[in-house]
């Protein structure tokens, strides 16, 4: 199975948004993978799976509003040789079913891809009950889990295709909404566990994941105009974290900033800090993300702005931090 992307496609997907792109990717994948099974806990339409459901009814199972059972059923199907994608909103799949994930995916290593739709704060007015603030932290702490947070819609498609070939349990965390900005105009090499340097720079190192990769690129451009040379590393795979890529940043010995649409507790920033702090004389790691609190309810963009997670604000934070240091 393979998937090449074009700029045109990515623009279309961007308009559709993260969720609908997930559904599109699954639809394309189904053409190539016989033993694919796609599960939902009564959120098939919300997961962009409407067309998939009608095109491949025999590959779709609605488990009803029962996320724990969904992961358990996924485990039985996976055990008998099927490739499973099971989706729900972030807190329901990562927390309601956390122990089923732990037993079936972590402990028994069954080949299930648990997909969190609308993670981060992209659920906007649905509020904190539906936000994925802590999901990466929880999933990352379970042994044997791989955690991926794609940077744009093209990377969602890349992730879905790579996940189908990857015979290990995985948590896929979808941030970004309708009009998910494009990071990748052209096709590129995507490998689970391998970070991508999408911008080179020598003064500051940004490490970002998911929706924050685009915002970090915007921040880097602003800082460039102010004379700061900023590198941006897309760490789509939060676990296992690409320590080779981090080693390069450590050698550069410039301040590291992690940016994520997730609580600053336990997510990408923590993962980076855990590794970098274990290396003697390593640079400082500054974590930018959502605060360790239940956040405000508003339009998606408004929430990001409230917590300083858009490009201009990220640039400001970095500047402020560096000025304070000087």
């Amino acid at each position: 199975m393979s998937m090449k992307i074009t700029g045109k496609e990515n623009k279309q997907w961007s308009r559709l948004g993260a969720r609908a792109t997930y559904g599109q990717a699954i639809l394309m994948l189904a053409e190539q993978v016989d033993n694919l099974m796609v599960l939902s806990a009564d959120l098939g339409n919300s997961s962009g799976l409407d067309r998939f459901k009608s095109s491949y009814p025999d590959k779709f199972l609605n488990i009803g509003i029962a996320e724990q059972n969904m992961i358990g059923v996924a485990a039985g199907l996976a055990k008998e040789g099927n490739i499973i994608f099971a989706s729900s909103f972030a807190p329901f799949i990562s927390m309601r079913a956390a122990e089923q994930v732990r037993m079936n995916m972590g402990y028994m290593k069954l080949n299930i891809k648990a997909v969190a739709i609308g993670s981060g704060v992209s659920m906007a007015f649905l509020g904190n009950s539906h936000f994925g603030l802590e999901d990466a932290a929880i999933m990352r702490s379970i042994p044997n889990m791989t955690v991926v947070n794609p940077a744009d819609c093209a990377e969602i498609v890349k992730t879905v295709f790579a996940a189908a070939k990857y015979p290990h349990p995985m948590y896929i965390r979808l941030t970004g909404a309708v009009g998910f900005p494009v990071v990748y105009e052209d096709d590129y090499e995507f490998e689970i566990g391998k970070a991508i340097e999408i911008r080179q720079g020598s003064d500051v190192s940004i490490v970002a994941t998911g929706s924050m990769v685009y915002e970090s690129m915007e921040a880097a451009k602003i800082l460039q105009d102010l004379g700061l040379s900023v590198s941006v590393l897309n760490i789509h795979t939060i676990k296992p974290i690409d320590t080779d890529a981090l080693d390069i940043l450590i050698k550069k010995d410039k301040p590291i900033f992690t940016i994520e649409e997730h609580s600053i507790t336990g997510g990408l920033g923590s993962a980076v800090a855990e590794y970098v702090s274990s290396i003697p004389n390593s640079p400082t790691v500054n974590r930018i993300g959502l605060p360790d609190e239940f956040v405000i309810t508003a339009e998606y963009r408004y929430i990001l702005e409230k917590y300083g997670l858009v490009g201009t604000q990220i640039a400001n934070s970095i500047q402020l931090k560096l000025n304070i240091k000087q």
Partner: protein, 274 residues
């Protein structure tokens, strides 16, 4: 095919092996809820289940899941008697780094399909396996899962129960070891589950209620599932006695998780060998 007498003797032998295993492990084991399932395991591994210890991944094997994961004593003894686990390996039970601990750990070589221990997981997995078998046109294999009545406190059991009936999984058989006691005491005082038979019936299952120590009744009920015209999953509510076979353990929840001393071990053996 084992005769009735063979099965009776197998159950009797299994009880002795179970006590020896618990005693030699030199620590506490789930004795009460293990002893209540001896006839269930005798029926399953002595007659009902299709398996091949030489080929543990045999596609047409029946799948068995011990959802009530703490009931490993009769399970490991049954796997030993069935040829999956050698005597030597059996006695690694609860030794440091053994594959055989207080709960099943997935290991097909030993005949263990899944890791359990956290209650309320096994039936969901069994539903997934049953669906997968139908999808690959494996109409030979069946899926059996044993739950505890205490375990039925878990909401996830009922999510799974509802889905098994919804998907018309007539290749799935659940057995509830209904011994009426759980960790803290009497099941009806801790969380009154009402009439279990009615609950499963109302969830869309075909229900057979029987004496869980009657091996023949168990075999009939378990096998009937494969031949009937039903498109329902089947549950066997096996009314059992916790601690069955050892007078001082029967219905005495002090033996839910306890260790045998030389004296109590010898007392128990003397009763069983009588």
């Amino acid at each position: 095919m084992m005769s009735n007498n063979d099965l009776f003797l197998l159950a009797k032998k299994s009880r002795v092996q179970l006590l020896e295993l618990a005693f030699k492990s030199d620590g506490p084991s789930h004795l009460g809820g293990g002893l209540s399932m001896v006839e269930i395991f005798t029926a399953l591994y002595g007659s009902v289940l299709q398996f091949d210890p030489q080929n543990p991944e045999w596609e047409n094997r029946d799948r068995f899941i011990l959802s009530k994961g703490h009931g490993v004593l009769p399970f490991f003894v049954a796997l030993h008697n069935a040829g999956f686990i050698s005597q030597e390996e059996l006695y690694t039970y609860k030794k440091n780094e053994s594959d055989l601990i207080s709960h099943p750990v997935m290991n097909l070589r030993l005949g263990i399909e899944s890791s359990n221990g956290s209650l309320g997981h096994g039936l969901s997995m069994a539903v997934g396996i049953s669906l997968a078998l139908k999808r690959k046109d494996n109409l030979t294999s069946r899926v059996f899962v044993v739950l505890g009545d205490g375990e039925c406190n878990e909401g996830s059991v009922w999510e799974a129960s509802m889905s098994a009936a919804h998907f018309k999984l007539d290749n799935l058989v659940a057995i509830v070891d209904y011994n009426k006691l759980q960790s803290d005491g009497n099941s009806d005082t801790i969380m009154d589950i009402g009439v279990l038979e009615k609950k499963w019936d109302s969830f869309g299952w075909e229900v057979i209620s029987l004496d869980g120590h009657d091996i023949n009744a168990l075999i009939d009920a378990l096998n009937k599932a494969s031949s009937g015209p039903s498109v329902k999953p089947r549950v066997v509510i096996a009314h059992t006695v916790k601690g069955k076979g050892v007078s001082f353990m029967e219905n005495n929840n002090a033996w839910h998780h306890n260790r045998l001393t030389q004296t109590t071990f010898e007392q128990a053996l003397a009763e069983l060998n009588n």
